[in-house]
């Protein structure tokens, strides 16, 4: 039975799947944090902080969409 199971591949699936999940969760949460904080800062007329948070949100959004594009390339190259 053990011959039928590729333990190395299984282990790779576990750590790669976990890293991919963490990357998705963190990048999109940063998009939301950046956008929400930027809105709060704008309301309080703290324009410098608002710009910084907006930039964080944009960078995180690019990272999140990059992950999505990579996922599509994984699907199409199967």
């Amino acid at each position: 039975m053990t011959a039928a199971i590729d333990v190395g591949q299984l282990f790779e699936l576990v750590w790669a799947g976990a890293i991919a999940t963490i990357a998705v969760a963190i990048s999109f949460s940063l998009v939301i944090i950046g956008a929400a904080r930027a809105e709060d800062c704008r309301r309080n007329r703290r324009n410098g902080s608002a710009t910084a948070y907006a930039a964080l949100s944009v960078v995180a959004c690019v990272a999140f969409l990059g992950i999505a594009v990579f996922a599509i390339s994984v699907i199409t190259s199967k």
Binding site: M1, A3, A4, I5, D6, Q9, L10, E12, L13, V14, A16, G17, A18, A20, T21, I22, A23, V24, A25, I26, F28, S29, L30, V31, I32, I33, A35, A36, R37, E39, F64, L65, A68, A71, I72, V74, I75, T76, S77, K78
Partner: protein
């Protein structure tokens, strides 16, 4: 003048497309249930988007099509009648689990049906037990556990990061994120599952002698018809399973929905990248439970989760039993087309009765409401 084998081939192709249709409406829930329940998308928009992406996914690659049944049943044991019996066994199981509102793997049902039919046709020697362990049992054990852990990790990180923000923007944000993760899931599902039907029809064409056995070229009409069948099935929507996945296992907020879908998509695509065959049904169900349990263990309806787990365990033997039974009935009418015709007519009658009863129940509920 069509021969008996021509008639069997036509029945096999129609049955394969019917399986593809049931796969579409049965597994639609995997991709969109959490998006619907958190109101990230309206139900109609969600199924339409999923249908389009399932249709598109069917055209993307053909590599999975060539692997259907390989390493599990000896290629020499695959005849048009075995394929037909396997498909009927899988359809019957899909309908039964849809009726019960339980998400189960259509791919496992198809594999089980083929195993049962081949077993009855040629005996145990044509079944590759190592292949079943490697391609079915190990992935079935790994998928939900991994997705459960990944989604739990994701929701813990998300609550830690956004816990002090106002809930309004947070909920709106994760609803938007669910559109992306739901789309990924639908595309991955279309790529994987529509190809299985293409593979089955191509196997039948090879067994019938219409295509050369030494190469596995999927005809264009097979690609188009499979894509249309799975998209139509998806658009029809398996609302019973969507309800189970979206709101009966846990009541989820948009962040939990995003975690379940995001973790599920990450795990499925990582597995695809590594060539590890995971069921999308097992992954997203594990993800939904993980996203609920990490918030509060009692948030998960463990009784329902237990029923789903039992359905998963029973899928392979039940569909194998169905496939074997159908092969035995078909063979009882001889080697001609009569057996498949009788079984196909019986299956059609069963489907009409099932859907008519479901429609009648909906009318009663609507009249009472």
């Amino acid at each position: 003048m069509p021969t008996g084998s021509d008639v069997i081939l036509v029945i096999v192709v129609v049955t394969a497309l019917a399986f593809d249709f049931t796969n579409g409406f049965h597994d639609t829930a995997n991709a969109i249930a959490t998006s619907v329940s958190t109101r990230a998308m309206s139900p109609r928009f969600a199924v339409a988007m999923s249908a389009v992406l399932n249709f598109a996914g069917a055209f993307i690659s053909l590599k999975v099509a060539a692997t259907v049944g390989s390493g599990i049943v000896d290629a020499g044991a695959i005849t048009t009648t075995v394929v037909f019996a396997g498909l009927v066994g899988a359809i019957a199981w899909n309908i039964a689990t849809w009726w019960a509102g339980l998400p189960s793997s259509s791919s496992h049902a198809l594999i089980g049906g083929l195993i049962g039919a081949a077993f009855v046709a040629d005996g145990p020697d044509v079944i590759n037990v190592d292949g079943i362990i490697e391609k079915v049992l190990v992935p079935a054990a790994v998928a939900p556990v991994l997705a459960f852990a990944a989604a739990a990790l994701a929701i813990i990180i998300i609550y830690w990061m956004v816990g002090r923000l106002r809930p309004g923007p947070v909920n709106r944000g994760y609803r938007l994120g669910q559109i992306v993760t739901g789309s990924m899931f639908s595309l991955a599902h279309g790529t994987n599952d529509a190809q299985k039907t293409m593979g089955i029809i191509t196997l039948a064409l090879i067994a019938h002698g219409d295509l050369p056995a030494d190469s596995f070229d999927v005809p264009f009409w097979v690609i188009v018809s499979s894509a249309v069948a799975i998209a139509l099935g998806t658009y029809t929507g398996g609302w019973r399973i969507i309800r189970t996945m979206g709101s009966r296992i846990i009541k989820m907020d948009p962040a939990q929905g995003f975690s379940a879908q995001g973790a599920g998509a990450a795990v499925v695509l990582t597995a695809s990248h590594l060539g590890f065959p995971l069921s999308t049904t097992h992954v997203i169900t594990g993800g939904v439970m993980g996203a609920g349990a990490a918030k509060r263990l009692s948030a998960v309806r463990w009784g329902l989760a237990g029923n789903i787990a039992v359905a998963w365990v029973v899928t392979l033997p039940a569909s194998a039993l169905g496939g074997g039974l159908v092969y035995a009935i078909t063979s009882a009418f001889g080697s001609g087309a009569l057996g498949p015709v009788v079984v196909a007519v019986a299956l059609l009658a069963l489907l009409i009765v099932v859907f008519a009863r479901r429609l009648a129940q909906h009318r009663v509920v609507a009249a009472q409401g």
